[in-house]
């Protein structure tokens, strides 16, 4: 038995960390607040040069044909610096979905372009005043005169302005709720009305997209029509395994911030980290981090196997990580005291991102139910 990442994986982590530190770590997130994605684009180019964007893409599509576990160092390091953008959606949601369900032509069209870093894909699922469930998907894709027409509105679409293409969950059948959805993959076109939304996590850009009679070709539908929700579940497994890694990286930053601050901040003539009220709070954060890390490493290993607990492991990693990310980022502010609530210190960036991811593509109860039902309970 060996439950650890390999030396190669840890070495790779070192490269990514060095690169992201050169760009100032969380500075990248702060630049997004100022609507300046120039350095972020450079980071993405470098990630592609390092081979990150092709890690889980088969060799015949110019990738490295490695496993989800090989992406873990990349996601953890990106989380550590709260790097925004579409790397996770592209590599961990779109790529696994295409690998499993797309036609050869669709794979040829997208996978090499993702591997080279040329294409970043965003995901549009949620709709205004609806939830992330089959019934909540009302955008329609209707066949008219031998072509498909897309109508409706998507909201909270991440980094739409940086996306080269979109994977969109649409309704193709009104009769059946779950078996009436399809996934379409389209390049960004003029026909989409993209409007940036205001979110309190300003370092993570989200947009509303309106589709008015946008014409879609049949070969832009991924896999079988009406089977989009089922196909998406496969992508969600990989995405949530990746998300748990990203959050583990972010939690590690938070625990480090709290620990280092408690060592240097003095009150009553001593470092506040000497007080058990502070010390034990940070220890609880650390314990949550380590449990989340263990769950997420296992999730990223099991997702490429057919073990019986594949789904339960991934979804429990996701719910544990999102829940504890909220908790530790809040404690971090409390430990910092007054300075913790300022814009100047990074604490708030983490609290806001924790809230962003908590409900992203499904809530905690949504995934808890998946854990229990996947175990047959």
């Amino acid at each position: 038995m060996d439950f650890s990442l390999t030396e190669e994986q840890e070495m790779f982590r070192g490269h990514i960390r060095k690169m992201l530190d050169k760009f100032g770590g969380t500075q990248l997130a702060r630049e997004m607040i100022d609507n300046n994605p120039e350095n972020l684009k450079k980071v993405y180019t470098t990630l592609a040069e390092l081979g990150c964007s092709g890690i889980n893409i088969p060799e015949e599509y110019d990738g490295m044909d490695l496993d989800a576990l090989d992406l873990v160092p990349t996601f953890e390091e990106m989380g550590r610096s709260l790097v925004p953008g579409l790397f996770m959606e592209t590599s961990a949601l779109v790529v696994p979905t295409l690998k499993k369900y797309a036609t050869e032509e669709q794979k040829q069209q997208y996978l090499p372009a993702v591997a080279s870093g040329e294409k970043l894909v965003s995901f549009a699922a949620l709709e205004p005043f609806n939830d992330f469930s089959p019934a909540g998907i009302q955008c329609t894709l209707v066949q008219q005169d031998g072509q498909y027409v897309l109508n409706g509105t998507k909201t909270l679409v991440p980094e739409a302005e940086l996306a080269d293409a979109f994977l969109i969950l649409v309704r193709t059948n009104q009769e059946d709720q779950e078996d009436g959805l399809s996934l379409v993959l389209i390049d960004k076109t003029e026909g989409m009305n993209i409007e940036k939304l205001s979110s309190f996590d300003e370092s993570k850009h989200v947009a509303k997209i309106e589709f008015n009679n946008l014409v879609i070709k049949e070969d832009q539908i991924i896999g079988e029509v009406d089977k989009g929700w089922m196909q998406l579940q496969e992508g969600l497994l990989y995405f949530n395994a990746a998300l748990s890694s990203y959050i583990v990286g972010a939690m590690e930053s938070v625990v480090n911030m709290a620990t280092e601050y408690a060592k240097i901040r003095e009150q009553f003539g001593q470092a506040i980290g000497r007080f058990q009220a502070i010390k034990h709070s940070i220890v609880n954060m650390k314990v949550n981090l380590e449990i989340a890390r263990s769950l997420s490493h296992y999730a990223n290993w099991v997702v490429d196997t057919d073990e019986f607990d594949r789904e339960a492991a991934v979804y429990s990693a996701r719910t544990y990580a999102t829940e504890k990310f909220i908790e530790v980022s809040a404690h971090n502010i409390q430990i910092h005291g007054g300075i913790g609530i300022t814009e100047e210190i990074d604490c708030h960036l983490f609290v806001k991102r924790a809230r962003y991811y908590d409900q992203y593509l499904g809530s905690t109860p949504f995934y808890q139910e998946k854990v229990v039902s996947s175990l047959g309970w």
Partner: protein, 398 residues
């Protein structure tokens, strides 16, 4: 990352499983697992079980072969615990002798001490207890006041120990005493004696716990005797002996985690059996959420243990981060047993013969409070993690 077992490890598992199936007390596997209430009878049955383990070569698998062990690897110890939990094997009455005293003597004992004690630890002929805590020395063990004073060629021991597990059945005590006073460095001046429990100067009194069990004892020493040959290590260097001893307790938390995992699966079954308003409780969304939450925590703790075990195997010794495992398993045990009582509704308070489900739930619940205290309180564990893992400054007074 690799969760498989080697062929050698699998062979070890099969060998143990086969032996257990052939040698467990009659009816044990079928569920006849009651142990005698009467203390003497209880002790007799468990000594016999220990002796059976010894004869089969399963009493102390981690000990070197030359002392009667199997030189087992850490993974083999893990498998050993998994198999013992699987069959709910009877408790090891000489746990302290096998896992703590024996390995410490092998490590730093004299040849005479090894010759005198090791075999009897293995066979169960001599049961061991530990004399650590005192009324005035709990988390701060250096506050111990039991004194050992040299009188001619004998040592005279006076004082009181408390929370002594197995004290009522023990033949020998691994006893921490104060032999000199150093107000500034209180961990100095402590000496470890191997004290005979069967002598006029030693009296034990059981402590009745909140669950009615008598797992612990008070031990009073009034001019109890010992000799130089009974000292482990050097006079006044007992603190180092204690630290050496603690390093030998390598996989106990693993055993607790495997048990916890089993309790969790049983809790799921309980939720499937119980009905509320005519429907199985497990269909209730709030219960499902809680089960999912426990699943994540139980799996996370077990995986984290495997992570730390991997590090231990690679480095040859456990790091401070293993304190996380102890903290997590005991607090989770407490939360899970409370949940198991809670889902039984008002009937959750019914005890023993009147219990609505398996009476083990009420016992687990009542016993769970001691787990976050014994073996280092949760607060002490948090200090250790804070100071030794995170590098935070030591708190006042230490």
């Amino acid at each position: 990352m690799d969760f498989s077992f080697t062929k050698k490890e699998e062979k070890f598992r099969i060998e143990l499983r086969t032996w257990l199936e052939a040698n467990l007390p009659e009816g044990w596997l079928e569920g006849k697992r009651d142990l005698p209430e009467d203390l003497d009878e209880y002790s007799r049955v468990l000594r016999a079980w220990q002796n059976k383990l010894y004869e089969g070569g399963w009493a102390a698998i981690a000990w070197p072969k030359e002392y009667g062990g199997r030189n087992a690897s850490l993974m083999e110890e893990i498998i050993y615990h998994q198999e013992m939990v699987r069959v709910k094997a009877p408790p090891l009455i000489n746990y302290i002798g096998i896992h703590m005293v024996g390995p410490t003597l092998i490590d730093i004992g004299t040849d005479e001490q090894k010759e005198r004690y090791l075999k009897k630890i293995l066979t169960g002929e001599e049961i061991w207890c530990q004399g650590y805590s005192e009324p005035g020395a709990g988390s701060d063990l250096t506050g111990l006041k039991t004194r050992a004073v040299k009188d001619g060629d004998r040592w005279l021991i006076n004082g009181q120990k408390v929370w002594t597990s197995f004290g009522h059945v023990a033949d020998k005590c691994f006893l921490l005493t104060r032999t000199s006073t150093h107000p500034e460095k209180k961990h100095r001046g402590i000496t470890v004696f191997m004290m005979d429990m069967h002598q006029p100067g030693v009296e034990t009194f059981p402590i009745v716990q909140m669950d009615g069990h008598k797992d612990f004892n008070e031990v009073y020493m009034t001019d109890a005797g010992a000799t130089d040959a009974d000292i482990v290590g050097q006079v006044d260097s007992g603190w180092h002996v204690l630290i050496a001893l603690m390093l030998h307790e390598r996989t106990g938390i693993g055993a607790e985690l495997f048990t916890l995992e089993k309790q969790f699966n049983d809790t799921v079954e309980l939720a499937q059996q119980y009905k509320v308003n005519g429907k199985p409780l497990i269909e209730n969304p709030l219960v499902r959420q809680k089960l999912a939450n426990f699943y994540a925590r139980v799996r996370g703790s077990l995986l984290n243990y495997y992570k730390n075990l991997t590090t231990t195997i690679k480095n040859g010794q456990p790091g401070a981060e293993t304190s996380i495992d102890k903290l997590v398993v005991t607090e989770l045990n407490q939360a899970l047993s409370a949940f198991a009582v809670e889902i039984q509704g008002h009937q959750g308070v019914l005890f023993d013969k009147d219990a609505a489900a398996d009476p083990k739930w009420q016992h687990l619940f009542l016993a769970s409070f001691g787990q976050t205290i014994g073996g280092g309180t949760s607060e002490v564990q948090r200090n250790t993690i804070g100071e030794r893992v995170l590098g935070l400054p030591k708190d006042m007074g230490r």
